[in-house]
């Protein structure tokens, strides 16, 4: 028995929305049904799949023609965005409903034609059976305009209840007996015995052990009664006849046993296919994500559905505490009640709880999750405890699969952390090399000047001493700026900066910038132009101030003294543009992007700086979802262009205007 599942989609979607299953056959009317399912799926925004069921009636084998047709329909389904599934089983309706329940299907669509109405009088139809057994699943019949001649999906569900089997076996023996009586003059005694084996085999295959045993008994009795001397009498006189009867009986039992075993194997392998399919689906869905929390959530969802109960994953953290990582349903919280169970499962790395050798009185079962990186347990509450003894192996392979998935998630997390650490390491080494050079230079001047004064033996006059002190102070200030920039950079790089945006007048930002650069601005003409009365920016004041300070500082450093620097603010729809124009040498062609990189500095000699200023500007502007560019102006000098989003102003922001008009006091 096989179970082929083609076309995949995440199962999460099944649970969240409508899920349609359409039954198809090699019958041309299936096209109609498929189209109907497609339309329904579109209108419900649902996922859908087409299912065919192979039954043993035809020995699971389709005629070549029918197989071609079916393949064509399946391709049609896939081209319309549906999945296709082929199921194998004894009973079409049972197989469909079992699969539909498992997949969380909400609607089953099935084609229905005029021609099989008459059949219903004799058999219960597939549609009828589906409706009878569907439970919460909606079953829809799609009428087809064409006549269905011979459906591939046949109602092979012979009433499998015992009495029917026994009745059929009685009938079969009667017919065999009549045939034998009719043919007794042609056939020899061994042929007659062989004739009686036929119903035994047939009944054993179709109805199992009980009816088969009855058939062999009846056959033996009938053979004895009609064909062994004395006729029409159950008494046995001939020892040969005793042997024949015994043989008939024994062979009957052996056949029925063999047949029964085949049936059991078939059921078992079908169950195994179902489980393999479940594991396959789990693996496939888990593969699509890397986040360990999400993976745990997916696993519990699958487990809860598969085992028809509740599921939770508990993992040990670094300190050996066990925490709930995920649970389905969300309120399943086994940590309070089953801590012992989970601990024991983690420590001994064996299944623990209900149906196992340890703590079997518990109503939960804990399966160990054991990876090189973590330990934990998959905790299940299973309603149907029969599942347990039967599926021990499956449970373990499921838990193993879970362990692998979690291990993979942990591994990818580690890889990510390593990458972050590598980046941090790189930053740290750049910072270190910078600290060793750029911080030592001013420190050298400070220590030099300081010791010169301390160890002076009267050689320094007042002016010289003052000069040295001046050096100490200015170099210390330079270091302070450098450290400030380094800290800003580290804050930006570590991703730990939370912007606290607020509306702030551009003038105010410029005001504090000018105060911070008071010394450098001496003798400079710095103008501010804007088209609005009070241009407002929506920025984090502190971070944005560092942008303006760095840009202005840059402009002052690289342009001739006395030259003019201009700020311009303009609104452009939902953007605000800030320009900084200078009259310096501009940016060397080809370096327009490089200058925003860390530790890249202008080529002009003798200008102090760390190469961090513009990198900080870019970092902050990008964090504000804005852009920063530099171009050379036609009239000479560089132009930095900042573009920032400008959301709508809060309504109450200019409430002051009303005051001014109405209640202003003349002073």
């Amino acid at each position: 028995m096989m179970n082929i599942v083609e076309g995949g989609y995440p199962i999460a979607e099944h649970l969240a929305k409508e899920n349609i299953l359409v039954c198809i056959t090699a019958n041309p009317a299936s096209v109609w049904t498929i189209q109907a399912a497609h339309r329904l799926a579109q209108s419900l925004n649902a996922s859908w799949m087409a299912v065919t069921v192979d039954t043993p009636d035809y020995g699971y084998v389709l005629s070549k023609e029918n197989r071609q047709k079916l393949l064509g329909y399946m391709q049609l389904v896939e081209s319309l965005g549906g999945a296709t599934v082929r199921l194998f089983g004894q009973s079409v309706h049972q197989e469909i409903i079992r699969y539909a329940r498992e997949q969380g299907v909400t609607h089953i669509l099935i084609g229905r034609s005029e021609s099989n109405r008459w059949q219903e009088r004799f058999h219960s139809s597939l549609v009828h059976d589906l409706i009878q057994n569907s439970g919460y699943i909606n079953v829809m019949c799609i009428a087809s305009p064409e006549t269905i001649s011979q459906g591939f999906i046949m109602d092979s569900d012979h009433p499998s209840n015992r009495w029917f089997g026994y009745a059929v076996s009685l009938l079969a023996v009667m017919i065999t007996t009549m045939l034998a009586i009719w043919g007794r003059h042609i056939l020899t005694a061994p042929d007659l015995v062989m004739l009686f084996f036929l119903p035994i085999m047939g009944i054993a295959f179709q109805f199992g052990q009980g009816p088969a045993l009855m058939t062999s008994t009846l056959s033996a009795l009938s053979y004895n009664y009609y064909f062994i001397y004395p006729y029409f009498n159950f008494s046995l006189t001939d020892p040969k006849a005793v042997l024949t009867i015994n043989m008939l009986f024994t062979v009957g039992i052996i056949i029925s046993n063999l047949m029964n075993r085949i049936r059991c194997q078939e059921l078992e392998s079908r169950e195994r296919e179902r489980q393999t399919d479940a594991l396959h689906r789990l693996t496939r869905e888990v593969m699509t994500t890397l986040d360990d929390g999400q993976i745990a959530q997916i696993i519990t969802r699958h487990a809860a559905r598969l085992f028809g109960g509740e599921a939770a994953i508990c993992l040990e953290d670094m300190d050996g505490n066990i925490n709930l990582t995920a649970a389905t349903p969300n309120d399943f919280y086994p940590l309070n009640t089953a801590m012992n169970l989970i601990r024991r499962c983690c420590v001994f790395n064996t299944p623990t709880g209900k149906g196992t050798d340890h703590l079997s009185y518990s109503e939960l079962i804990a399966l160990p999750i054991y990876t090189s990186r973590t330990k934990g347990a998959l905790v299940l509450r299973i309603v149907d405890s029969n599942l347990l003894s039967k599926d021990q192996f499956f449970y373990e392979s499921f838990a193993h699969q879970v362990s692998l998935a979690i291990d993979r998630a942990k591994l990818s997390e580690e890889v990510r952390m390593t990458a972050i650490r590598a980046k941090e390491e790189e930053l740290r080494s750049t910072l270190l090399s910078m600290a060793s050079h750029d911080l030592r230079t001013p420190l050298g001047a400070i220590i030099g000047a300081g010791t010169a004064i301390r160890d002076d033996q009267g050689g320094l006059d007042q002016t010289q001493q003052h000069e040295l002190l001046e050096t100490i102070c200015s170099e210390a200030e330079r270091m302070e700026r450098l450290i400030g920039n380094l800290l800003d950079m580290v804050r930006l790089e570590s991703g730990g900066c939370h912007l606290r945006k607020d509306w702030i007048p551009f003038e105010e930002m410029i005001g504090t910038t000018l105060v911070r650069l008071e010394k450098q601005c001496q003798g400079r003409l710095i103008t501010v132009k804007g088209d609005e009365k009070i241009p407002m920016l929506f920025v984090d004041p502190v971070f944005f101030e560092s942008v303006l300070v760095n840009l202005l500082d840059n402009a002052i450093k690289y342009t001739p003294a006395q030259s003019e620097i201009t700020w311009i603010v303009e609104r452009l729809g939902e953007k605000v543009v800030i320009l900084l124009q200078d009259q310096g040498p501009g940016v060397p062609p080809g370096e327009e992007e490089d200058i925003f990189k860390k530790f890249v500095r202008g080529k002009i000699e003798g200008i102090p700086g760390s190469g961090l200023g513009l990198a900080i500007c870019q970092g902050v502007i990008q964090a504000h979802d804005g852009t920063i560019q530099v171009t050379n102006r036609a009239t000479g000098g560089a132009e930095f262009r900042l573009i920032l989003p400008h959301p709508p102003l809060p309504q109450d922001i200019f409430q002051s205007e009303q005051y001014e008009n109405s209640g202003g006091i003349a002073v």
Binding site: G484, E660, G664
Partner: protein, 235 residues
């Protein structure tokens, strides 16, 4: 001004920093008392009459902000926080806890002296009481609190009621950094403390009326991310 001889309590655990403060302040005629931790700070602040406290935040036996809150329970003695914690949140927290001013290390002695002067002047004004003063004069700014007149360089300035209240509040606390929350609560009321953007617009309008160049203010200074301060030294 009662700087000479004023008793100043320096709470600082770093030896070099303490030495610098002690030497520099003693040379400027202060009576300097050193405390190296909170225990000593509590002891000295209760045992001797102190006129001003310089307080480091990260002390070996506790946080200076807790000490500030504690002290504000019974004393108005001016507190100037001197700390290497430079984040705006730290500043706001210290100021809201009751500190009068906040200096980030490193700072120059001139900067420190200016802040001490402001704090002492405010303390003496608190003692005599504001209400008696009919006019406030801060550099070129004059406010006549009785006639509600504002003059800048002897020119009358027209203000709205809120602008006037805002200016008056800043003037009464000239030299001090007032946090956004504090100003909003005092001028607009306790329900408006989150409307910093409103405050900023009002400040921008005040600057347009009072400052020569509103983009380069001389009187109404911004402490970015913290609040505002009216400049009070006009040497």
């Amino acid at each position: 001004m009662n700087i000479p001889g004023a008793r100043i309590l320096v709470v600082e655990d770093d030896v070099q920093m303490r030495r610098f403060l002690h030497t520099a302040l003693t040379a400027r005629d202060f009576d300097v008392v050193d405390a190296i931790n909170l225990r000593e700070a509590r002891l000295f602040s209760t045992a001797t009459p102190v006129e001003i406290i310089l307080l480091d935040l990260g002390l070996p036996d506790g946080d200076g902000i807790d000490f500030t809150r504690e002290l504000r329970g019974w004393s108005h003695v001016p507190i100037i926080v001197i700390s290497a914690r430079g984040r705006e949140d730290d500043k706001v927290m210290a100021l809201d806890a009751g500190a009068d001013d906040y200096l980030i290390k490193p700072f120059g002695i001139n900067e420190l002296m200016a802040r001490i002067r402001v704090a002492l002047r405010r303390a003496s004004m608190l003692k005599t009481g504001f209400s008696q003063e009919k006019t406030l004069e801060i550099g070129p700014l004059q406010i006549d609190t009785v006639r509600r007149e504002v003059r800048m360089n002897d020119c009358l300035i027209t203000l709205t009621p809120i602008e006037y209240r805002l200016l008056l509040h800043l003037a009464k606390n000239a030299g001090r950094v007032l946090t956004h929350q504090h100003i909003l609560k005092e001028v607009w009321g306790p329900n408006y403390t989150h409307q910093t953007h409103t405050l900023r617009v009002f400040m921008a309008q005040l600057r347009r009326k009072l400052e020569v160049d509103s983009a380069h203010p001389q009187l109404l200074m911004t402490e970015m991310g913290v609040g505002y301060r009216m400049r009070d030294s006009w040497e």
